[in-house]
């Protein structure tokens, strides 16, 4: 029983991390109908930002987290500016190719700038400490991850549903041309979307680094794919869907290892099977609508 609860917590922690990064995929898709394949590398870059500000500039972790968020948001905006905006009127395939290209560019840039050898992500003692609850030993980090996710998603849903920027985002995602005619600043709205998505990826990256303290320029590849799967499972374009998709995928992965230890080597396979199944049975995902809007 204790093991089961422990496994559930493992799954929820992993799922929250998936969810935070999946939001970036889903927001960009919602607004541009583009699967931003470079998102996983933005996630990777955020870990290096945090790594350098802690290990090289000796900043406290919370300052580094803020810097990483800002830096990554800026990178996301920049990426959109140079790789996607010039292709705004181009066929969708061109933008997709540009996204794949940007992904490789960032990875190789990472190898040149940071080196291919794995670096050790710094530890934060406070978050790494253990708490004992009813016989369960849980790391404070697990709570931190779950609470951060709830707070951030709450804030995000507020922004998207209640603020002017959010209304603009939803308008743009519904109809590009009409919202332009109505005086919505399309470029600004898209930039903000990228900034928010990348910022959340930075939070996810930071906590990912604390939990799995090893970073390489290719560290984003597999988590990126998983988060993309999470976004699709939840219904790409839907923020709630991204979170639910992340949680489902996270808990599913952990439970497969727990319940079928002999199949544990194939956990990635199950994630991809889930992707294929959902695309066959319910392509709009669990929470997506036919005409997907935000949230």
């Amino acid at each position: 029983m204790l093991t089961l609860v422990q496994q559930l917590i493992n799954g929820l922690t992993l799922g929250c991390l998936f969810g935070l990064v999946a939001i970036g995929y889903t927001m960009v898709y919602g607004i541009l109908l583009l699967i931003n394949f470079a998102h996983c590398d933005i996630f990777m870059m955020s870990m290096y930002f945090a790594f350098y500000s802690i290990s090289v500039f000796y900043l406290p972790w919370y300052v580094s987290l803020v810097l990483a968020i800002l830096g990554t948001a800026l990178l996301g905006v920049l990426l959109e500016r140079v790789a996607y905006r010039p292709l705004r009127t181009a066929p969708r395939t061109s933008v997709l190719i540009s996204a794949v290209g940007s992904s490789y560019l960032l990875e190789n840039l990472g190898i040149v700038l940071f080196g291919a050898v794995a670096k050790s992500f710094p530890t934060v003692d406070y978050l790494q400490e253990m708490v004992t609850i009813a016989g369960l030993r849980i790391q404070r980090l697990a709570f931190f991850v779950i609470i951060t996710m709830i707070v951030l998603v709450g804030a995000l849903l507020y922004i998207v549903n209640k603020t002017k920027v959010g209304i603009a985002m939803r308008a743009v995602s519904r109809d590009f041309e009409t919202s332009k005619l109505m005086g919505v600043n399309i470029n600004l709205t898209i930039s903000i979307t990228f900034a928010i998505g990348s910022g959340l990826a930075a939070v996810g990256g930071f906590m990912w680094g604390l939990r799995y303290p090893q970073i390489t320029p290719l560290v984003g590849a597999m988590p990126g794919l998983k988060c993309f799967i999470a976004a699709v499972i939840g219904g790409i374009g839907s923020i709630k869907g991204a979170i639910m998709g992340g949680l489902i995928l996270g808990v599913m992965e952990i439970m497969i290892v727990y319940l079928f230890p002999s199949a544990s080597g194939y956990r990635d396979v199950f994630a991809f099977i889930a992707l294929i199944l959902i695309l066959c049975i319910k392509p709009t995902g669990l929470f997506g609508e036919e005409l997907s809007d935000k949230a």
Binding site: Q139, R211, G265
Partner: protein, 394 residues
């Protein structure tokens, strides 16, 4: 603005292409750093088949350090009285079995007369047929799986093999640690790890394995597997893993407050393992090829002196010693047979009998060095510690 952007972007593109190119075609010239005084003959090209990027990059870098060290100390080879400078040609196998074949082919087409290297048996197994076909002898370094040399008559190997490593670990667990039960957590995508796990299991007794789980190279989350293992409460955990995954799983075991004793592989012996692992890897144990703290031999003293004079300080890993040996074994063979012809050189390599840094080296019919000892290592306070010498019963 647009023009500038265009120019900047194309520059970035070119840079990234250059970054890919370094590994892709995979043959960049390196080495020949030593002076070529008195070297009048043609340059002899020797291939270095290593992982420069990907999961094994840190180990590959360490081995390259050993090749370069030996090349600096001994920059030429004498054939029929003519001194030829030796040039190292490095090919990056990217820790990928497909890229490994490409890397081997690039060494062949670069005109290498022989090659050295290989961390990660899976990569060497993939590349071996390419070398065999081109009749290029390869002196393998730390690729421990039997299949690397089996059936490949041009592949030699300096290190012990996995059956030996597996039996030492099993004996160590049973006799020294007094373990009765063990769990296995093994990389299912790495031939080296699977092989080692099998040998460990055979020697430890299959009935004493309480839990057996698998993961893939590059996996980062081990929380589920560790929780399952901890519930079975084994005395030791055999971790069939390379250094990144090995270190990560121990960090996560510590995060979860699990008290597990990890036995690992010689793939762990890198600084990155200590960096990532931190205090979590204290008390782990694995088998390795050489230890600078063991009783010195004339060869090991010379090696440590050479290392200190070129890089300063003590070697960071035993990998460097193996690759240093590989270079010298190969050059000795070339000088002994006065030829760089693939077949002649291979036959000469079989006749090798040489005291090396990592022990006396003679090859058996398979091309495997006949080894009788291995070194046990552990970690404490961010350092590797010498854990004694174990006898090998191959």
């Amino acid at each position: 603005m647009k023009k500038f952007l265009c120019a900047a972007l194309s520059l970035v593109m070119i840079l990234s292409l250059a970054a890919c190119g370094g590994g892709n075609g995979g043959s960049s010239s390196a080495g020949n750093t030593g002076g070529s005084d008195g070297a009048s003959g043609d340059t002899i090209k020797v291939g270095v088949f290593e992982a420069m990027t990907g999961g094994n990059a840190a180990a590959g870098e360490l081995e390259l350090e050993g090749f370069r060290l030996a090349n600096t100390i001994r920059p030429t080879v004498t054939i029929d009285g003519v001194e030829h400078p030796v040039e190292l040609v490095v090919a990056d196998n990217k820790t990928d079995t497909v890229e490994a074949v490409t890397a081997a082919a690039s060494l062949v087409s670069a005109g290498c007369v022989a090659a050295m290297g290989g961390t990660g048996s899976g990569l060497c197994i993939a590349a071996a047929p390419t070398f065999d076909e081109a009749k290029i002898p390869v002196v393998g370094t730390t690729c421990t799986n039997p299949l690397v040399t089996e059936g490949n008559t041009y592949y030699f190997r300096l290190c012990y093999t996995d059956p030996g490593q597996g039996s030492i670990l099993a004996t160590y667990a049973k006799d020294t640690l007094g373990a009765k039960t063990a769990a296995i957590l093994c990389d299912i995508t790495d031939a080296y790890c699977i092989g080692l796990a099998e040998y460990f299991k055979a020697n430890f007794g299959e009935e004493n394995i309480v839990e057996e789980l698998y993961f893939n190279t590059g996996d980062q989350d081990f929380s589920a597997a560790l929780t399952t293992i901890a519930a079975a409460n084994p005395d030791v955990v055999f971790s069939g893993s390379q250094y990144t995954e090995g270190a990560l799983m121990q960090v996560q075991a510590e995060q979860q407050g699990l008290d597990l004793t990890f036995l690992g592989t010689d793939g762990w012996e890198t600084e990155t393992f200590l960096d990532i692992g931190g205090s979590a890897v204290d008390g782990c144990a694995f088998v390795t090829f050489f230890d600078a703290d063991a009783d010195p031999t004339p060869e090991s003293e010379q090696y440590l002196k050479d290392y200190d004079s070129v890089y300063g300080g003590k070697p960071r890993s035993s990998y460097t010693a193996v690759s240093y040996d590989a270079y010298n074994v190969l050059l000795d063979a070339i000088e002994a047979c006065n030829s760089v012809d693939g077949e002649t050189l291979r036959d000469q390599l079989y006749k090798t009998s040489k005291d090396c840094v990592t022990g006396h080296i003679e090859f058996d019919d398979n091309g495997d060095a006949i080894k009788d000892i291995a070194y046990l290592k552990s970690a404490k306070d961010g350092q590797f510690t010498f854990g004694g010498i174990a006898a090998l019963s191959n």
